[in-house]
Every structure is written in C-alpha cells, then in structure tokens.
C-alpha cells in the first residue's frame, strides 16, 4: 500500500486501448524494434515503490550529452522492457556501475565498435529473482535475464538518446544489444565467484557490467584435460579479429570447470596461463591490419599479449551441466578506456531483495 505517491511528470498520451498503445510506442520510436509493455502510472509507481525512490530522484547522469535520468524514466523503461518491479534494485546497481567513469558510458554506447552492456549477476539475488546461470545462459527463456538486459538497452535508447544512426554509430553491433544478462553458476564454481574475486563478500549480491562484444564459442570436447581447455581458450583469445590490450571475460562451462578443478587448476593459475598464451607477434598484428606500418624483422619476435596482465581476465562459471562449450567475451575497449565495473545490489527501502 502506498499513500499519496509523488506525482509523475513524464508526458502522457491517451490511446484507445492496449494494442494502440503498443503501436504508439513503435510509432514514436520508443522501442527496440520489439513490442513493449505500455507504461501506465500504476505500473510505473509499482516500480518506484519497489526501488524505494521518488520519481524525481536522479539515478544516472551522462555528462557528455548532458542527460540526467530520473527514477521515473528508469521505471518507465523497466515497464516497457517487461521487468517485474522487484528487478529495480538490479537495474539501479547496473546503472550506477555504468555511470562509473571507468566504464566510459558515452563511448561504450556510441562507438562504431558496437558493444553491448553485458551484465553478470552474482549472489543470492540470482535465486530470489530467478536469474538463469545454467542451460542456455546467453539464450532466451528467463524473464529476469531477458528483461533486465532489455531495460538497460531501452534506457540507452530512450533516456540516453543512443539511437542507431544518430548517437549510436555501431558499424554492425551484435544481438546482445537487445539483451545481454547472465548470472554466474556459483554452485558449479569450485573457486571463488566473480564478485568475491572483485572484492565483495560472498553473501553480497552484485552486478558487473562490461562493454562487450558478443560471446565467442570455445568448443573443446575431446582433450578432457585442463591443458587442452586452456589451449583452446587462449587460442580464441588470441584471434586477430578481436585482438587488443583490452579486458576479457571468460565464461567457463561447468564441464570444463570440473576438468580444470580435477587437474588441480586454480583461478589465478588459469588467469596466468591464459595471459601467457593469448599473445601475437607484432608481425601478425601488422599483417592483419591491427597495427599500422610494414613488417620489419624485429616484429617477428616481439610479442604482444591480450590485456595488460592476468588480472585483465575475468573468469566466470556459467552454462548447463552437459557440453564442452565455454565462451570468450572481449571488451569493446582496445586498451583500458572501458573497464568492467561491479556494484552491490542494495535492498530497496522496506522490502526484498
């Protein structure tokens, strides 16, 4: 029950019914190309109540294009995306992370590189809100994953103005720009989960945001040893197309994780081995057009690694129990202009999670 909620200030349109409302959002350019759930005052108030925020509270500022986004606009876009009100604290933590200068929000949402905001959820909130960390983790079927990722895209389009062809100049983009949200399969992780590695308490719930390319599949079925898996992962990371000094997210499938753990590998050892192996010669980078200039003899023996050190490789465990399919997800940033950022999901005033 709420008592005399603060008044909303967004412009309102009157339409005859639900179907016309959906079409109106299309007509105005306020969708991602898929139908949205029309936002009414009641549904927006439900989201604001779940967030414990007044409509006018400023949630996100983007200084380059001078946009200040209120809780009301976040809630409207959450409704459009199909979020349940209780997802709001997850969205707010993700937006707080995206606003960290280390993320470089304006560049990440506008660059030709065409990144999407990968969201990785950790902690008890996964079960409380129904985030999928298992089978088909990057795919469809789970409302929390699908709508939290979609809400961030709709906020990017509608509230930050990153419309394709105007502010968003992605050359190709990728399907993760519709939605790109996974949870870590902490139950299948014999090491510490991502948020603990990044300095948070195990019992905390967190989101990590990463301006990212799409997932690159790493199939390794028949080696059945840690060494074979590391060779395959490092080879994917060293591919010329995505090669850079940027950060990496490596999403290891439970089957691969079980073999790595069985063979005595720890998370730090995996990161160090991947950093050591994921490298190319300067000659290769020049031949592939990754560096300017002609190849000189010295280039053949000058090695450049992916990332700036083992800590630039973020290990996450996710996926179903069957199958030797892991994923490499390169940063959009070629250097350290955009970094992964983690924030704790704080319970809303007066309610779970």
């Amino acid at each position: 029950m709420r008592s005399s909620p603060a008044k909303l200030t967004a412009d309102a349109l009157s339409v005859p019914g639900w179907a016309e409302a959906v079409e109106t959002y299309f007509d105005r350019g306020w969708s991602d190309g898929l139908p949205v759930v029309p936002a009414t005052e009641d549904s927006v108030h439900a989201c604001l109540d779940a967030a414990g925020l007044d409509p006018g509270a400023i949630v996100l500022t983007e200084p380059v294009r001078r946009r200040a986004v209120t809780a009301e606009k976040i809630a409207i876009n959450a409704v459009l995306a199909g979020c349940r009100p209780e997802y709001m604290p997850v969205l707010l933590a993700a937006l707080e992370a995206m606003a960290d200068p280390a993320f470089t929000l304006h560049g990440a949402i506008t660059s030709t590189g065409g990144s999407a905001t990968l969201v990785i959820v950790n902690g008890p909130v996964r079960e409380a809100l129904g985030f999928n960390s298992g089978t088909n983790v990057f795919g469809p079927g789970w409302r929390a994953n699908a709508t939290v990722g979609r809400a961030l895209r709709l906020i990017t389009l509608n509230a930050l103005g990153a419309q394709p062809g105007t502010l968003d100049r992605s050359t190709q983009g990728h399907p993760g720009k519709y939605t790109y949200c996974i949870a870590e399969n902490e139950e299948a992780n014999p090491w510490e989960p991502l948020h603990v590695t990044r300095g948070f308490a195990r019992e905390a719930s967190t989101v990590t945001v990463f301006a990212a390319e799409g997932p690159h599949n790493i199939l390794s079925h028949y080696g059945e040893t840690a060494d074979a898996i590391v060779v395959a992962v490092a080879d994917a990371m060293a591919g010329l197309g995505s090669f850079s000094r940027g950060e990496s997210v490596v999403v290891l499938a439970p089957e691969h994780v079980a073999m790595l753990a069985r063979d005595g590998w720890t998370k730090p050892r995996i990161r160090e081995a991947l950093y050591a192996r994921a490298r190319r010669t300067r000659a290769d980078l020049k031949r592939g057009g990754k560096l300017a200039g002609a190849v000189i003899p010295d280039d053949e023996t000058h090695w450049i690694h992916r990332g700036t050190g083992p800590d630039d490789i973020h290990i996450v465990v996710a996926g179903g129990g069957a199958g030797g399919h892991s994923a490499f997800i390169p940063s959009w940033s070629r250097e350290r202009n955009s970094l992964a950022v983690t924030r704790e999901i704080r319970p809303a005033r007066g309610g779970p999670p």
Partner: protein
C-alpha cells in the same frame, strides 16, 4: 482509453555559449586537437597545410587527447583555450 508514459529524456540545456567569431586567420594561433587514433594527426597536418597556404598563421599548436573514447581532459582544453584563437579537432582511425 489508457494513458501511457513517455520514456525519453531530453538533453539538459547547454550551459556554454558560442565563442566570439573571428573574421580570418591572419595573425591567429590555430590549435589542432587529435583524438589520438591512427591518422588523426595525418588529417590534421593536411588541415594545417591548407590553412597555412591560405592565411599567415602566427602559430600552430598540436595537441592529442589522452584517450580516443573520452572527452579531452580539462588540462588539454584549458591549454588550448589559453593559447589558441581557434581550434580544429579531427577523428582519425
């Protein structure tokens, strides 16, 4: 009838105003700001050559952003503002 809400946010009004326009570049200091990517400096050197052929420039100041993905830092902008009458910026890649 149902009432539905607008999800968009307009940019806040710009706090800045246009600098005073100048009539020509004779005797002026021209700043060139590269985004730091490959060829940004090449493009700007062509601009410098074109301008130098048409005007008697007093000085040309070349500066480079520390990161192509981020806005120029305050130190760079203040240095350009202090030294230059006009600034040309270029995006290379």
């Amino acid at each position: 009838m149902i009432r539905i809400l607008d999800p968009t946010v307009a940019p806040a009004p710009a706090e800045s105003s246009l600098a005073k326009r100048i009539d020509g570049l004779d005797g002026k200091v021209v700043g060139l700001l590269s985004n730091s990517k490959v060829n940004g400096d090449v493009l700007l050197s062509l601009v410098r050559d074109e301008l130098a052929a048409r005007y008697r420039l007093r000085e040309v100041v070349l500066m480079t952003k520390s990161s192509a993905s981020r806005v120029a830092d305050d130190t760079t902008l203040e240095a350009l503002a202090a030294r230059c009458d006009v600034v040309v910026t270029a995006i290379g890649d």
